[in-house]
Amino acid sequence: MTTAILVSIVMTLVAASTPILLAALGELVVEKSGVLNLGVEGMMLCGAVAGFAVAFSTGSTGLGLVAACGAGIATAMVFAVLTLSLTANQVATGLALTIFGVGVSSLIGAGFVGRTITRLGPVFPAALSEHPLLRAVFGHDIVVYLSLALVLGVSLFLRRTRAGLILRAVGENDASAHAIGYPVIAIRYGAIAFGGALAGLGGAYFSLALTPMWADRLTAGRGWIALALVVFAAWKPGRLLLGAYLFGAVMTLELQAKAAGITWLAPELLAMAPYLATVAVLTMMSIGRKTGRLDAPACLGKPFSAS
């Protein structure tokens, strides 16, 4: 009995963590290149609605996921053109992207409110994915495994490849990287596109896997939590994984409490938990930073102009 509860907790926790893990992983790469894209929430919502629309009209969740990546990239490119080519303020443009994503997703989604699709199913055969115990490991959908593979991939890319080295160099000291002869702007375009794809995918996870039904603003600020998670992870993919699952646990508190029959604490107060936890985590990270460690890419958020 207790194992059954534990397994079910694991399942909800993994499901709740996966979208923020994806979005945060994309943002981590963007920030490593020295760009602060505050539009994660907006890109997630665009991905969510595009994924749902395509999955609904084609009946294929797979195509939906691809469309979500595409929508994420497209919105990210708007940000890239404005901040990199037109040197607009990154903070303002990121905010605009979020407001835009909220608007676009509810406009497109207006026609889909209440419609349902087939939920993204588990990868492995029923013998494994519905096994009372093993489903904790084998009962997840493709995006969950993909997100874990991506954490490993990004980690290896940043630490082991020359391209990753150059990406980090651009975020660390864009002027020096430019002086040595690396194409700073082009590299940042690439990073922003990657961030957009993962944010789109993370958003689509809400509409295709978590709640296979369209609802307005269904990401509920998870994009912002993803931004905080990057700070928590000190820009390291491994710690990001840990952080995302910790946040998943906090985010599912409301559900867990309901399941455990706790009624003395109002659900609204439990729903505050992830946001308060984010503030607490950011505060603790800042206290930790006082020891003088270099964590954030040195050029984060600063405009760069080649001339």
Binding site: R160, R162, L165, I166, R168, A169, E172, N173, S176, A177, A179, I180, G181, G292, L294, P297, A298
Partner: protein, 528 residues
């Protein structure tokens, strides 16, 4: 160690009649020089003599207007640094292109033109570190390294490309004496393997210790070529500085007035990550005098200025006194109200706000002493009048008080900033690099204003790397080195060789400006 120069060998690099102009300045004029394989050749000259421009031409960063470059006897064009590296020219810049949060080996990999397998690179770097006995841990992150270790990264980056000519731009300006000794050993070994080295410096004792030939530049021209092992330091200093310098007549302000600014035992930790700590700085500036503070860049000049201005207050109130009043713990505003004005080196973004008009910029520091903002309300008319008076009196070339600071040339903005401070009739004026990047006409005007201000009874402190300027202006001179200040000496008493030694980096532990590290290298009497 070094082989005797063999005159029959074809020069590795030969420059003939190189000229280069920038708007308003002739940076290089008809410069010829040649460097043979295995030779360590000094390019000697003061700041602004044209050394940097010349090496940028050799390294392909800039193109000469006239003249030609021959490489191993053949005329070549060097359109880019990449082309220079392909020929076999390596350069270690004064300001490193390093990535602080990354490891040594990552920094080296980033500096290579082509991708090299990680393990192979590690092996090659290890081989170089071993054969030159350079202590450097390839896995350390750069921000944990000393300046000398950082420089070794740049040297290894160059050596990996097996250079035929190595250019070192002011390599010792940021090194400790021990690191300098280590660097010289490395350079001699590199030269002994046949690599030519072009060594840019203005430190005479170093050149005497290291180089076999020297080309001396002044005002963009070659004034002499000599063998520094034979030539006297005095003669080289004269050639570098220009003998006519001594004929400049000081304003007659030798009368020692009352002490206006007194600093005693000022100790202040530098700002992380790369600030220099100030250690026990003490000096006095008297009414009517100009005190000069000389020193090579990065030895605590900007820290001293922000400590005096109040941007970074001291911990003890009596570490700084103004007209006898302890002000050490005051912030910038109250200090200014009492009559201490400061002009930092960086004009845009520190002394002035680039996106503000000149009128608005005058509020920045003048509001404490002039009634520009009664009760916190900006008196637009008074502000405009004050800005206008500064523009007129200091001949600032601009479209008017509404012009943005960023639209002014460096010289004109500096005239405005100096005018803004002098126009408030401060009791003490501290100024850092008053004529840095300013054209000759404006520089002369600024210097005249400083002399006039002192003549009216203010104390003026000039912090500068430009020794010409200090000799022209200052009544007394001291040297700042690694955050420590030497005891001041009257300029009139200084011999030219002592000045040369002061420029060459004096480590002021002895308290006498003109003695210290480097003197022992010379092996000649202190007085000519």
């Amino acid at each position: 160690m070094t082989q005797p120069p063999d005159q029959t060998v074809r020069p590795r690099l030969a420059l003939s009649h190189i000229s280069k102009s920038f708007p308003g300045v002739k940076a290089n004029e008809d410069i010829s020089l040649s460097v043979r394989p295995g030779e360590i050749h000094a390019l000697l000259g003061e700041n602004g003599a044209g050394k940097s421009t010349l090496v940028k031409i050799i390294y392909g960063v800039q193109q000469a207007d006239e003249g030609s470059i021959a490489w191993n006897g053949e005329t070549v064009a060097i359109p880019s640094p990449k082309a220079a590296r392909r020929l076999g020219i390596g350069m270690v810049f004064q300001h490193f292109s390093l990535f602080d949060a990354m490891t040594v080996i990552e920094n080296i990999a980033l500096g290579l033109d082509e991708a090299v397998d990680r393990d192979e690179l590690k092996a090659r770097v290890a081989a170089i570190l071993d054969s030159y006995s350079l202590p450097l841990d390839p896995e350390r992150e750069v921000h944990t390294l000393s300046v000398g270790e950082r420089q070794r990264i740049e040297i290894v980056r160059c050596l990996l490309q097996k250079p035929k000519l190595l250019i070192m731009d002011e390599p010792t300006s940021v090194l400790t004496p021990q690191e300098v000794d280590k660097l010289f050993l490395t350079l001699r070994q590199i030269a002994s393997e046949g690599c030519a080295i072009l060594y840019i410096s203005h430190k005479l004792h170093e050149i005497k210790a290291l180089c076999e030939a020297a080309t001396i530049l002044r005002g963009g021209k070659v004034v002499a070529t000599c063998d520094p092992k034979i030539e006297t330091t005095k003669r080289m200093a004269e050639l570098m500085i220009g003998a006519e310098l001594r004929q400049i007549v000081h304003g007659d302000s030798s009368g020692a007035g009352a002490v206006r600014l007194s600093v005693s035992g000022l100790t202040l930790a530098g700002e992380p990550p790369f600030g220099t700590d100030l250690e026990g700085v003490s000096f006095e500036a008297r009414a009517g005098e100009i005190l000069g503070i000389a020193g090579v860049a990065g030895n605590g000049q900007s820290e001293l200025l922000t400590a005096l201005s109040g941007e970074r207050p001291a911990t003890k109130a009596d570490a700084i006194t103004l007209d006898g009043k302890p002000i050490g713990t005051m912030s910038a505003g109250p200090r200014r109200a009492l009559g201490l004005a400061c002009v930092p080196e960086e004009r845009n973004g520190h002394a002035a706000v680039p996106d503000f008009s000149l009128a608005d910029n005058s509020i920045l520091t003048a509001r404490h002493r002039l009634p520009l903002t009664p009760l916190g309300i900006i008196s637009t008319g008074d502000v405009k009048n004050f800005a206008d008076s500064v523009i007129k009196r200091f001949d600032v070339r601009t479209t008017g008080t509404a012009a943005l600071a960023r639209s002014l040339s460096g010289g004109n903005l500096q005239k405005f900033i100096m005018g803004r401070e002098i126009g408030q009739q401060p009791g003490v004026l501290v100024v850092c690099q008053p004529t840095w990047g300013v054209d000759a006409g404006a520089a002369a005007a600024i210097r005249q204003e400083l002399v006039d201000l002192a003549a009216k009874g203010s104390a003026v402190v000039v912090i500068s790397q430009d020794l010409d300027e200090l000799l022209e202006l200052a009544d007394r001179l001291c040297v700042i080195n690694e955050g420590r200040l030497s005891a001041p000496r009257a300029v009139a008493e200084l011999g030219i060789d002592e000045i040369g030694l002061m420029m060459g980096g004096v480590h002021g532990e002895s308290g006498h400006g003109a003695s210290g590290h480097g003197a022992s290298d010379l092996g000649e009497p202190a007085h000519a």
